[in-house]
């Protein structure tokens, strides 16, 4: 699994090389880091974060997105990478030994590591789905990482409502099967 997860870093492709994407990623990463550091029990709300960034970027006119859908596509992908990157960091730190031991107790460390492994399994399954059916994978991304509803996705992608529903049903079964294996 470690290997499969590692491969995302090299398969980001042209989309991720886009400067806009890099900016969205960095902004979300900074916002998420701040959110987590702000309180002792920092919590992350992915959807809120993406929407906050959307509002900020809109108000500051700092990034030019011709259509909101493009922003959410970027942001969802960025959040997905963020989660995978953090999961990899967590597992790498565990391997690093003492470094982590003092920050997490036994049970919390176990939970963190389990969650990191779960997140990477999810990432692998999503990649497989993207290979099998890219649009279905994108709909999952927008649902999970940008918090868009099916109606919003319909509107954003400019495809029929029924198509979105069909894609989602397929993706759901595909991922559940992948993760259940």
């Amino acid at each position: 699994m470690e290997d499969a997860a590692q491969s995302t870093e090299t398969t980001h492709g042209a989309f991720e090389a886009d400067a806009l994407f890099v900016q969205v990623y960095d902004r979300l990463k900074a916002m998420a880091g701040k959110r987590l550091a702000q309180r002792s029990r920092g919590t992350l709300d992915t959807t809120a974060l993406v929407h906050e960034l959307y509002l900020r970027m809109g108000s500051q006119r700092e990034l030019a997105f011709p259509h909101p859908s493009q922003f959410f596509t970027y942001a969802a992908r960025a959040m997905r990478h963020l989660l995978a990157d953090r999961a990899r960091d967590r597992l790498r730190l565990r391997a690093g030994g003492d470094w982590m031991r003092t920050t997490l107790t036994g049970s919390d460390l176990r939970l963190a590591v389990d969650s990191a492994e779960e997140a990477l399994a999810l990432e692998t399954a999503l990649q497989r789905l993207a290979e099998a059916d890219p649009r279905a994978a994108q709909i999952v991304e927008l649902t999970w990482f940008a918090g868009l509803s099916q109606d919003q996705i319909t509107e954003s992608l400019g495809i029929a409502r029924s198509t979105v529903a069909r894609d989602w049903r397929y993706a759901r079964a595909f991922l559940k099967h992948e993760l259940g294996e």
């Binding site: 998420a32 880091g33 987590l36 550091a37 702000q38 309180r39 002792s40 029990r41 920092g42 919590t43 992350l44 709300d45 992915t46 959807t47 959040m79 963020l82 989660l83 953090r86 999961a87 960091d89 967590r90 730190l93 003492d98 470094w99 982590m100 031991r101 003092t102 920050t103 997490l104 107790t105 036994g106 919390d108 939970l111 963190a112 389990d114 969650s115 990191a116 779960e118 997140a119 999810l122 290979e131 099998a132 059916d133 999970w144 990482f145 069909r166 049903r169 397929y170 759901r172 079964a173 595909f174 991922l175 559940k176 099967h177 993760l179 259940g180 294996e181």
Partner: protein, 932 residues
């Protein structure tokens, strides 16, 4: 998987539309590959299952559980953290970075190990808890414990800790490299135990003892690092452990891993692991249940280090095994009761005496402790009492009493770390119960008191001391009634036991009682109690005796005996220096306290000298700049102000206020004193608008922290009236002083009736009413006020002089100039007897005299007097331009009366140069200045 995706999806979607045998038939026909068939069937089953692929909480749940993995912030050398400058990184931990850092203390460079946390303390509560804990740690002094020098929170809310910089090797490396033999290793271990025991007696638990925290320097000296730091850094807003307590699993006791109550027994467990490691070269608590000695000949597994232990197995077997196993018992109550008893056990072994630890087989047959099962709370309370008994609570009881005495003249504080320890323990004892079933602190104290009374194994004297301790806990919880009955019970039991009058136990009990009496408005009873106690303990040089003297100093001051209070406080200081050493933090704190007392008693020169010396020591020793230090800054400011060293006053107030604000954000009761002092100082230097702002802030602060009807609020209202009066806003000033008098009157009649404040406020009101031109009313009120003053201030002094001055001002308005002159003369005669008369009062009295002389047409005498007043003010406080302008206006009127137009014009010219706005002058002066 190798099928084209469209077919996989098509197959899935078509199969979904079919049911049962039709579906099978369809797949038989269209999907030959067994793996694909399995996959599609799996997906169909997954589709039928209602559960979503990502369980509840979605990706957020994962993101949050993974936690922050941010890499340490890069902080370049030369950056400042608090007062320290970073030199280099010494190490990185999971939650902190350790730097070598320095700071300058009066020309000398102090080197420290500075630990900067990555997680911030954002709420005021979390920061307060951090400071509470930090205070206890800074008090901890032991030659084998690396001293905490300072702790604080950066502007970014990141906590940092500065520790004594120690270079050395982990104890396990030290013994291996130097090939120490078993006896040497055990002796070294005893030193570690003794240091841990000393910290435990101060009720500080290390919580993270491990070889990398137990260093041996090149000189062979043991130094324990990070004592109590784990606790310091894991308090969250509620004061509970956060989800990230810092400890090292390999050395953590079971109760640590299970979030059970952390006690001194937790450190005993870690010491057991360390002992095992020292004698075998391996960690011994791997859960395998092997005896330590079996490690020595066991094959070295992969990844473990060669033991290199010059110890034969035979030596270890038996006694040492039993000792390690006893220390490592899962049940805290079955371990050694203290690190000290572990050390004694090793000593016995070294001396060839039998040890008390029994072979495990026999031990395990005894009953299992029920800590985490039913009856958990009560048994934990009983266990806690056992620990206190083992530590000899008398030691810290005296410390508690001292702490209480030191703060007795102020508010009672909840920040007592030693009591906090017990209270926390009592709380954790019930932490596993559901919230609504947890006993209240009061109930826990009752339970503990009952256990203390009923436990037949307790030494009767220890029992009495425990009751006393529980009384102190009740007091800390604000439950004075229960506190008093427990303290009384302790005193009664000690009396029955025939405890000697100069024993630590007796002194502690009486000081405890005295503090309670004093803080419940029965200061005179406390005074009598101490008066009877003190003569018998003159030759006793203990912490308790210092406490008793300090309390007596306070009660003497409350009784109005300034001389007596100062004498007693000096005795307290001398004793503190003998007991703690002149450079100890305790002695220095006692000194600054004495300085504050002198300032309160109006002995400003003495106060200045004592405070400056004490504070210089304070800084030189790198003691934490805390509330006590800030209070000293305020008192020094008052003394400097009265001593006329006006240049030095404002920075002292400003520094003190900044320090107080760093102690607590937002409204804070300790701000009041500094804000009021600063406002009155600003007033004297003509910075009226600023004075107004500051006094308004003080008032808002006081109303919030004390309440609208509190005495402190009344005092601040009086100060506000002074500011408003000086700004000629007389109606507003009258309202403020009126309100102040109302509040003080409500509090009159009690034991602490604030009579001086009330008498001063009444006189203040007379002055304002007179200035408003209501002369008759002023005269009537003045008769009352002056009677009050002569009653309250038994020895005539500044207050009486001021009262005479106001009497004269009223007489002028009544055109009774002879009487005005008489009043002025009497006031001046009185001021001549006062050591340090307040400058404004002296100047005002001289002005009154000049006015009286002018009205009596003794022009030359009037001129002499007004010029004297002017010179006096101009030399002492040239910034008081409004005051100087007033004096020049009076002088101009004198010159007009002498028909010397040129001299009058010259005075007016000088007055105009001062540029004081006309609205800050009274009507008469304004008219004079506008006269052509």
């Amino acid at each position: 998987m190798n099928l084209p995706s469209t077919s996989l999806r098509e197959l899935f979607e078509t199969a979904l539309l079919l049911e049962g045998s039709a579906r099978s038939a369809f797949l038989d026909e269209n999907c030959a590959d067994a793996e694909d068939r399995k996959r599609i069937e799996g997906m169909i089953a997954a589709d039928a299952d209602v559960a979503e692929p990502l369980a509840e909480g979605g990706v957020d749940r994962l993101a949050n559980a993974i936690g922050t993995t941010a890499s340490p912030p890069h902080i370049p050398p030369g950056s400042r953290i608090g007062p320290f400058v970073l030199v280099e990184v010494l190490g990185e931990g999971g939650s902190s970075t350790v730097f070598h850092a320095t700071r300058d203390i009066e020309g000398a460079t102090q080197h420290v190990a500075l630990k900067l946390m990555r997680r911030g303390l954002y709420s005021p509560d979390a920061q307060r808890l951090f400071r509470r804990e930090q205070r206890a740690l800074i008090q901890l002094r032991h030659p084998n414990i690396a001293r905490m020098i300072e702790a604080g929170v950066t502007d970014e809310a990141l906590p940092y800790i500065a520790l004594e910089l120690v270079t050395g090797n982990a104890i396990t490396d030290h013994v291996r490299v130097n090939e120490l033999n078993l006896r040497q290793r055990l002796r070294l271990f005893c030193v570690v135990c003794t240091a841990v025991d000393a910290a435990h007696r101060a009720l500080i638990v290390h919580r993270d003892l491990k070889p990398s925290n137990v260093l041996v320097t090149d000189e062979g000296e043991v130094k324990l690092l990070d004592f109590g730091v784990a606790k310091l850094l894991t308090e969250d807003e509620e004061g509970n452990l956060t989800q990230l307590p810092a400890f090292t699993p390999a050395y953590a006791a079971p109760e640590q891993r299970n979030n059970g109550p952390i006690t001194t027994a937790t450190d005993v467990y870690a010491l057991g692991v360390l002992l095992g490691e020292l004698i075998t070269g391996e960690r011994v608590n791997d859960g395998s249940g092997r005896t330590p000695s079996s490690w020595i000949t066991s094959p070295v597994g992969s990844g473990s280090t060669p033991t290199n232990s010059p110890i034969t197995r035979r030596q270890d077997r038996g006694d040492l095994d039993a000792i390690v196993i006893k220390a490592l018992d899962d049940d805290p109550s079955r371990r050694y009761a203290s690190a000290g008893s572990l050390a004694e056990e090793i000593d016995r072994l070294l001396a060839g005496h039998p040890v008390s630890a029994q072979p495990p087989t026999r031990r395990y047959r005894t009953r299992k402790f029920v800590l985490r099962h039913k009856g958990g709370v009560l048994s934990t309370v009983a266990f806690l009492l056992g620990i206190l008994a083992a530590l000899g609570i008398a030691v810290w009881q005296a410390q508690v009493a001292r702490e209480q005495a030191r703060i007795a003249h102020n508010e009672s504080t909840r920040a007592n770390s030693t009591l906090g320890f017990i209270t926390d323990l009592l709380k954790t004892a019930s932490a596993e119960l559901p919230k609504d079933q947890r006993p209240t602190p009061e109930a826990l104290v009752q339970d503990a008191a009952k256990s203390a009374r009923d436990d037949p194994n307790l030494d009767p004297l220890v029992r009495a001391q425990l009751l006393l301790t529980l009384g102190e806990i009740s007091r800390t919880n604000g439950d004075n009634a229960n506190a008093e009955s427990l303290i009384d019970e302790a005193i009664e039991r000690e009396r029955e036991l025939g405890v000697k009058a100069d024993s630590a136990e007796w002194i502690a009990a009486l000081v405890s009682k005295g503090n309670l009496l004093h803080s419940t408005n029965r200061s005179s009873e406390a005074d009598r109690l101490m008066r009877d106690l003190i003569p018998g303990i003159e030759s006793v040089d203990t912490e308790g005796a210092v406490s008793a003297l300090m309390l007596y100093g306070v009660t003497r001051a409350y009784a109005g005996d300034a001389e007596g209070a100062a004498v007693v406080a000096r005795q307290a200081l001398a004793k503190a220096q003998r007991v703690f050493g002149p450079d100890s933090s305790d002695a220095i704190e006692t000194a600054t306290y004495l300085g504050q007392l002198c300032s309160n008693l109006g002995r400003y020169r003495e106060s200045e000298a004592i405070l400056e010396e004490g504070m210089a020591r304070w800084r030189r020793l790198g003691l934490p700049l805390n509330q006590q230090y800030a209070r000293s800054l305020f008192h020094l400011a008052v003394s400097k102000h009265r001593l006329g060293k006006l240049d030095e006053v404002e920075p002292l107030y400003r520094d003190g206020l900044a320090l107080m604000r760093s102690v607590q954000e937002g409204p804070f009761y300790r701000l009041s004193q500094g804000l009021v002092g600063l406002a009155l100082f600003l007033l004297e230097t003509d910075r009226f608008d600023e004075a107004k702002r500051v006094v308004d802030e003080a008032l808002a602060n006081d109303q919030q922290v004390f309440g609208a009807d509190h005495v402190r609020t009344a005092v601040t209202l009086d100060a506000q009236a002074s500011v408003l009066g000086a700004m000629q806003q007389l109606a507003a000033a009258e309202t403020a002083v009126h309100r102040s008098i109302d509040i003080l009157t409500q509090h009159a009649g009690g034991e602490t009736s604030y009579e001086p404040e009330l008498a001063r406020a009444r006189l203040h009101r007379v002055r304002i009413v007179n200035a408003l031109g209501r002369t008759g009313e002023a005269a009537a009120l003045h008769a009352e006020a002056i009677a009050e003053i002569s009653r309250v201030f038994k020895a005539p002094g500044t207050e009486m002089a001021d009262a005479l001055r106001v009497e004269g001002e009223i007489a002028i308005n009544q055109s009774d100039f002879a009487r005005a002159l008489d009043s002025a003369d009497r006031a001046l005669a009185l001021l001549a007897t006062v050591d340090l008369p307040a400058l404004p009062i002296e100047v005002a009295t001289r002005t009154l005299r000049a006015n009286a002389l002018l009205a009596l047409l003794r022009i030359d005498d009037a001129r002499v007097e007004i010029i004297r007043a002017f010179n006096r003010l101009n030399q002492s406080n040239p910034l008081a331009r409004a005051g100087l302008t007033h004096l020049l206006a009076v002088q101009a009127r004198v010159e007009y009366a002498a028909h010397d137009g040129n001299a009058a014009a010259a005075a007016l010219g000088r007055a105009r140069v001062l540029g004081v706005p006309l609205q800050l002058l009274d009507n008469e002066d304004r008219a004079t200045l506008q006269r052509e």
